[in-house]
């Protein structure tokens, strides 16, 4: 210990310290990325054949906008590193290939079957590490906690998707779609990859278990019978006001007409 303290004013001491610091941070980074890649590797078991088929589909259906090597163009972003989850969401929900250029890709009936979607995902995943398709464990609502899901949902999602998850407006024609009727897998992938105007909720922000809780909450909203009668679209005071000024007013007028139709 004495030797070390004596040498701390040595001309090369600073250099040694710097080298040590670099080694430490570099080593940590290497470990971190390795675990990331390891994660990516464990759940991707795509065969070379899948990747080759995926590339064929990609070139004939996606390359116009995303470039022949998925490097992106003025019409579409690069897909290198977006991962299988992004492809599975965009293609699986029918948003990609896009019906038309616009502020936001619109939902439409899917263009590819499950196998083709998987092949496309395999090809894009082979281009660079990215979020993978979630494991079934995190999609199983029987393991989720709806109360915690409601808490996470109301704090992170309700500002765009509405407290009841029925969607809401964003600026200039963009919008947050309804979450009712969206599959567990697609909800998870959307949180993981942040499609369209949605932010990414990484596993650091919302852990996979919390994502499962959110899905559990949304699925419970779907299956529960509205306790108060017809929910009027769960849109809040606007649909209530509309109802009183239409149905409510018509019923009242009908009765006033009836009451005054006979003299006494």
């Amino acid at each position: 210990m004495k030797a070390l303290s004596q040498k701390r004013r040595h001309p090369l001491a600073a250099l040694v310290l710097l080298a040590l610091a670099l080694l430490l941070s570099g080593g940590l980074y290497a470990v971190a990325t390795a675990t990331n890649e390891a994660q990516a590797a464990t759940s991707t078991s795509y065969s070379a054949e899948d990747i080759a088929e995926g590339q064929k589909l990609f070139v004939s259906n996606c390359a116009t906008c995303h470039g022949t090597n998925a490097e992106g163009s003025v019409d579409g972003p690069s897909l290198i590193g977006v991962g299988a989850a992004a492809v599975d969401f965009q293609v699986g929900t029918g948003r990609m290939p896009m019906q038309m250029q616009g502020v936001q890709a619109q939902l439409k009936p899917g263009q590819f079957n499950d196998e083709q979607t998987m092949q496309l995902s395999a090809y894009v995943a082979s281009l660079g590490a990215g979020p993978t398709i979630p494991e079934d464990e995190y999609l199983d609502v029987s393991k989720g906690d709806a109360a915690n899901g409601a808490k996470v949902f109301l704090a992170n999602c309700a500002m765009c998707h509405n407290a009841a998850g029925v969607g809401g407006a964003l600026t200039r024609g963009k919008f947050a779609p309804t979450l009712m009727g969206v599959s567990e897998k697609h909800i998870y992938e959307a949180m993981e990859t942040g499609p369209q105007n949605m932010p990414v909720f990484s596993d650091v922000n919302i852990t996979p278990e919390e994502k499962r809780d959110v899905i559990t909450y949304l699925k419970s909203q779907e299956v529960n019978t509205p306790v108060g009668g017809f929910a009027l679209g769960s849109l809040g005071p606007v649909s209530e006001g509309l109802l009183i000024w239409t149905l409510g007013l018509v019923i009242v007028i009908a009765f006033t007409l009836w009451l005054t139709s006979r003299a006494a």
């Binding site: 409601a150 309700a158 407290a163 600026t171 009668g229 009027l232 009765f255 009451l259």
Partner: protein, 554 residues
């Protein structure tokens, strides 16, 4: 009344004896004799005030039930009720008890929904009642003050609704309070102090729910009931207005007495209104507060709107430009002036309210008509006023619709920004277009009425006369119906009048200008002489389609 106190009358039945006993001591028969013979005219459009009154009674009944279970505190508790998605969540006692009312109190959700639907019904009925009074000119002398009482009832009704909306302490109601906080703070110089005073410190503080509760269940209902009492007392003093018709004059009221006809009708109607509200409450969810979660100042949820009657204020805020053509915010006199919040409220929403309250005097000033009016105008016979009313409806409705601009954007697949641009245009231009079209429609309907009176109803029978001419036979309007068609005034523009000093002051010139605009285009009622002439034409079997243009004054 005094004679009944000393009568020696002996009733034959027990009921009669009890009634007589009571009557001798409180003199009810005198009251019944006086009030039971009050005459009310029969028309469906006269019944909306009643709907509002009955809704208020239902509000008080259902509200009393809710006070038994609601806990107006902001002290934090951990929810442990039946609603699974909120289990274990920390929330205010107010929100927890609102959830308990919805899920754990027997009949609680139904009562909550009855209370809320009744509130919407109350405000709607008041609005429709007020529109009826406006369009028929029932606010004219002697009823101007009652119009102001009614307008005040409307404003106090908005306050009642808003304080109630804020009580559950969920994210929706907290967002509404945050806007109120912003409006307070936009008041120059004293705004921050008012906000701190109101919330008992910085928003949201821990006092606001109990304060709003005191206002909502004591102060505001007391004011409402007092105003309702004054409003109805004045109806009794002034007597009810009536539509023009045979035998109806400024000095009588044609209709049925309160007892027994109206007492029975009105009593029954109360239960009908209760039934309608109960039906809505049992069928449609209102304010699903369990969806929103406990209030937390950080999130603002999509689809956050006030109830419809506050919508015009929210819409004004949404429509006011944020930074165009300059940022509506500057530092002055040691404070920040937030005009983008202050002006929409003071100018847009405020002007709508003020124009409504002061309309009777605006109209009287222009027309110089200070006579007593007990016979109503049919809306078409007051084209200018009807046009102004429609313009007001368009302006108000635009603001109200603007409060739902986000839902319009998502449901009609249009851009939120475009919705705002369109509604801004509608607020500025819509009332003018609405006024012009309405006034023209009124004039056209008046001409149609003239046509009907002078030439009768087309029968579709075409007759060939012996000399070969074809004529179409018109059937005269029967006298009973004709009365309503000809009994109206059509004032001519009143030029500027000199004052006592013989001078025409500038304000009088403005008045004369307005009078010219109001009454320049007009259709006069058919006079007996004209009718006689038209009938004469009929008898001579020629010129059946006579020229009406001669009698249309321009």
């Amino acid at each position: 009344m005094s004679h009944s106190l000393q009568s020696d009358y002996k009733a034959k039945t027990t009921t009669g004896r009890i009634a007589h006993y009571v009557d001798q001591r409180v003199g009810v028969s005198g009251i019944v004799k006086e009030f039971g013979r009050k005459i009310f005219p029969d028309h469906w459009s006269f019944m909306f005030g009643e709907v509002a009154l009955y809704s208020l009674v239902i509000l008080i009944l259902s509200g009393t039930f809710l006070t038994f279970f609601f806990n107006p505190t902001m002290v934090s508790v951990t929810y442990d009720g039946s609603y699974v998605p909120m289990k274990g969540v920390d929330m205010s006692g107010a929100y927890a008890s609102a959830l308990d009312i919805s899920f754990d109190v027997r009949g609680g959700l139904l009562m909550r929904q009855i209370h809320h639907w009744a509130a919407l019904m109350f405000m709607m009925a008041m609005t429709v009642h007020m529109l009826r009074v406006f369009f028929t000119g029932a606010f004219r002398r002697p009823r101007e003050l009652n119009w102001v009482v009614g307008a005040t009832l409307m404003i106090v009704g908005i306050l009642a609704g808003f304080t109630g909306y804020s009580l559950p302490d969920d994210v929706l109601s907290g967002n509404g309070l945050r806007i109120i906080d912003g409006i307070f703070k936009s008041i120059p110089l004293i705004g921050t102090y008012i906000s701190l005073f109101f919330f008992g410190g910085e928003f949201p503080g821990s006092a606001i729910i109990s304060r709003l509760y005191s206002l909502h269940i004591m102060v505001i209902p007391a004011i409402l009931l007092l105003l309702v009492a004054i409003h109805m007392f004045m109806v009794v003093i002034h007597k009810h207005t009536q539509y023009p018709g045979p035998g109806r004059t400024e000095n009588n009221v044609v209709g049925f007495p309160v007892g027994p006809v109206y007492a029975a009708k009105a009593g029954g109607f109360f239960f009908i209104v209760f039934g309608i509200i109960a039906l809505l409450s049992a069928t449609f969810t209102i304010n699903a507060l369990w969806n929103y979660g406990p209030y937390d100042p950080s999130p603002v949820q999509a689809g956050t709107q006030p109830d419809w009657y506050v919508g015009f204020g929210d819409g004004a805020l949404r429509l006011w430009p944020g930074v165009w053509p300059f940022p509506w915010e500057f530092e002055f006199l040691g404070g920040t002036w937030v005009l983008s919040v202050l002006l929409p409220f003071a100018l847009m929403a405020g002007s709508v309210i003020m124009a409504m309250v002061f309309w009777p005097w605006i109209e009287r000033w222009v027309t110089k008509d200070n006579r007593v009016h007990n016979v109503l105008d049919r809306p078409r016979n007051a084209p200018f006023r009807t046009g102004v009313g429609v313009a007001g409806i368009i302006g108000y409705a635009t603001l109200m619709i603007a409060a739902s601009s986000d839902l319009i954007a998502t449901h009609f697949h249009v851009s939120l920004n475009d919705v705002a641009y369109a509604l801004r245009a509608s607020f500025l231009v819509g009332p003018l277009i609405g006024f012009y079209i309405t006034q023209r429609i009124c004039l056209a309907l008046q001409r149609k009425d003239r046509e009907l009176v002078l030439h009768g109803i087309e029968t579709g029978n075409v007759v060939q006369l012996p000399h070969g001419e074809f004529i179409e036979v018109h059937k005269p309007v029967d006298e009973y119906r004709r009365y309503a068609l000809v009994d109206f005034e059509s004032p001519a523009p009143l030029p500027a009048q000199p004052n006592k000093k013989g001078k025409v002051n500038p304000i009088e010139k403005i008045r004369a200008g307005l009078s010219k605009i109001w009454f320049e285009d007009r259709v006069v009622a058919v006079t007996p002489a004209e009718l006689e002439a038209a009938h004469h034409d009929h008898h001579s079997d020629n010129a059946v389609e006579g020229s009406v243009s001669a009698s249309l004054e321009k």
